[in-house]
Amino acid sequence: MTKYRVLAGPEGYLPPAAACEGIRLPDVGWALIEGRHVPEQEALSAIVDKLLSAKRPFFFPGPNLLWEWKEGVAEKASALRKLADTAGARVIPMPDYRPKYPMINPAIEINPNHPNLTIWHNKIDVCVLAGVHCHYANVALKIIRGGTDCYTIAICGEAGHEDANITLRNAGIPQIEALTAMVAERRRLC
C-alpha cells in the first residue's frame, strides 16, 4: 500500500500524478479523502467540514454544467448552485478549456491549464470542481496541488479523481442534495 497522501499544496514545482504514486480510484459507493479509500458518507461529511471551515470557498463549475447540452444538466446545475449558495461559496466558471489568449481574467473565470491564477487572485482556500471533463479536471488539480495551498474537492459524475484532496465518484443530484442538506443542518446548529 502506498504511503503517498494527496494533501493540499504547495507540493512543489511539479507534483506527481497521484495515480503514479499508487493512489487508486475508489470503487462505486466509496470515495477518496487525501488518497485514503473511505465510504462515500464519510467523504460527504468531510466535504461539509471543509466547506464550512473555509475562509474563501469557491465552486468551479465546468462546461458540462454551464451549458444545457443534454437532458438532466439543468437540474444538476441548479442543485450544485444551491449547494454553493447554502455553503456561502462563490462561483467562478470554467467555460471552456482553451489556452486563452492573452490571458484569463482571474476575477471571473478559471482555466484548467493555469488554474492557479484564479486561486491566487481570489485567495481561495477550498475549491470544488464539478462538471469538468475528467482529463482537464486532473490537469487542473495537479497544477493547483503544485502551486497553491488550496484544498480541492471533486464532485465527479464518472470515476473520480485521485488528484483531488477529496473526490466523490458517480456523483449526481442525490449526493449534491445530501451535501446541501448537511451544510444547511450544520449552519442551523451553529
Binding site: V73, R81, P93, P99, I108
Partner: protein
C-alpha cells in the same frame, strides 16, 4: 433559432463571463449572418496572437463570418500561424499534426456522418500553404480522389511563416526566403488546377481584398461539399512579417497581385455543383 446546446444553464448564467453571454445573445449561431453583418454581431473568434496587419488573420475572420451554419461546423486546422488562432474560435476544432489535416478530417467527417446521418455536419479544413501543398499534399489530394465531402481552404501566404519565413511550394519562383537564399528555383504549385483535376467539384482562388467574393467562395465550397463532393478554396494572405513590408500594405499587396495577374482569381464549378448551387442560391437563402 439556436440549438439547445448553445444555451446556458440558468443556475450559472449570472457568473458567466461577458464574452460567452454575448456569443449566446449576439453571436452568429442560427442567425444566417454573413460578412456584411460584421461589426454588428459577436464574432466567432475572440482575440488572437497573430501579427499586426496579418492577412491570414483577416482571412480567418472573414471565413468565420462566412460559415453557413457555424453551430454545425467543426474546423480542422494544421500546424502554422493559423493554429495559434483556432483555439480562440467559438467552435469545436482540432489541431492534430502538421500536414495530416485532410486525413484527420476524412475520419472525422465519416464519423459524424455515421453518428448524425440526417444532419449536415460541415467539416472545414483550414490550413496554410506549407501544410496543404507541401507536407500534407498526398493527404489533401487523396481526400479529393476519394471524394471526401470536405471543404479545404488554403491560407496561402506563400511561405512557412510560423517557423520564420522559409520557402514553400507555393512561394513564387525567384523569391528569396530562408532556405532559398538564392531565390526559389521552381514555380508556384498550381494547386487550383491540381484540385480541379483531382475531383474537386468546386475550386476558387480569392483574396481578402474582396470580402464578399471570399465569402461567396467559402460558402459555395461548404455547401457543395455537403452534397456533391470535395471543394477547394485558395486564399492569398500576404504576410507583412516575413515578406518585410509595412503592416498597412497587406491589402495593397494583394490588390497588386490580383491586378497584375501574379495571383489570378479563378472559380471552377462542375456542372453538377453548378446545378446544386443554382437550386440553392436561386432560393435567395445564401448570396
Amino acid at each position: 433559432m439556436s440549438k439547445p446546446m448553445l444555451k446556458m444553464t440558468t443556475a450559472f448564467a449570472d457568473v458567466m463571463p461577458a464574452e460567452y453571454v454575448e456569443l449566446v445573445q449576439n453571436g452568429p449561431f442560427g442567425k444566417g449572418y454573413g460578412v456584411a453583418d460584421l461589426g454588428s454581431f459577436k464574432e466567432l473568434i475572440e482575440e488572437h496572437p497573430l501579427c499586426a496587419g496579418c492577412g491570414l488573420a483577416l482571412a480567418v475572420r472573414l471565413i468565420m463570418a462566412s460559415l453557413p451554419t457555424p453551430e454545425d461546423t467543426v474546423v480542422v486546422g494544421s500546424t502554422g500561424c493559423s493554429s495559434l488562432a483556432f483555439p480562440q474560435i467559438a467552435l469545436q476544432n482540432i489541431h492534430s499534426l502538421f500536414g495530416n489535416q485532410n486525413a484527420v478530417a476524412s475520419g472525422l467527417k465519416r464519423a459524424l456522418k455515421l453518428r448524425f446521418p440526417d444532419k449536415h455536419k460541415d467539416v472545414l479544413v483550414v490550413a496554410g500553404d506549407g501544410a496543404t501543398a507541401d507536407i500534407g499534399l498526398d493527404m489533401v489530394m487523396h481526400s479529393w480522389f476519394r471524394g471526401e465531402k470536405l471543404a479545404t481552404i488554403m491560407l496561402d501566404n506563400e511561405a512557412y511563416a510560423n517557423t520564420g519565413g522559409q520557402e514553400s511550394g507555393m512561394s513564387p519562383e525567384g523569391c528569396v526566403l530562408n532556405m532559398a537564399p538564392t531565390g526559389k528555383k521552381f514555380k508556384k504549385i498550381a494547386l487550383p488546377e491540381i484540385a480541379r483535376e483531382s475531383g474537386c467539384a468546386y475550386v476558387a482562388s480569392v483574396t481578402p481584398v474582396q470580402p464578399r467574393k471570399l465569402e461567396k467562395a467559402v460558402r459555395r465550397a461548404i455547401l457543395v461539399a455537403r452534397e456533391v463532393g470535395p471543394t477547394y478554396v485558395q486564399i492569398f494572405v500576404p504576410c507583412p512579417t516575413n515578406f518585410k513590408f509595412k503592416p498597412q500594405e497587406t491589402l495593397a499587396k494583394a490588390k497588386q497581385k490580383e491586378k497584375d495577374q501574379t495571383y489570378p482569381l479563378r472559380e471552377f464549378i462542375t456542372p453538377e455543383a453548378q446545378a446544386y448551387l443554382a437550386a440553392l442560391e436561386g432560393g435567395g437563402k445564401h448570396d
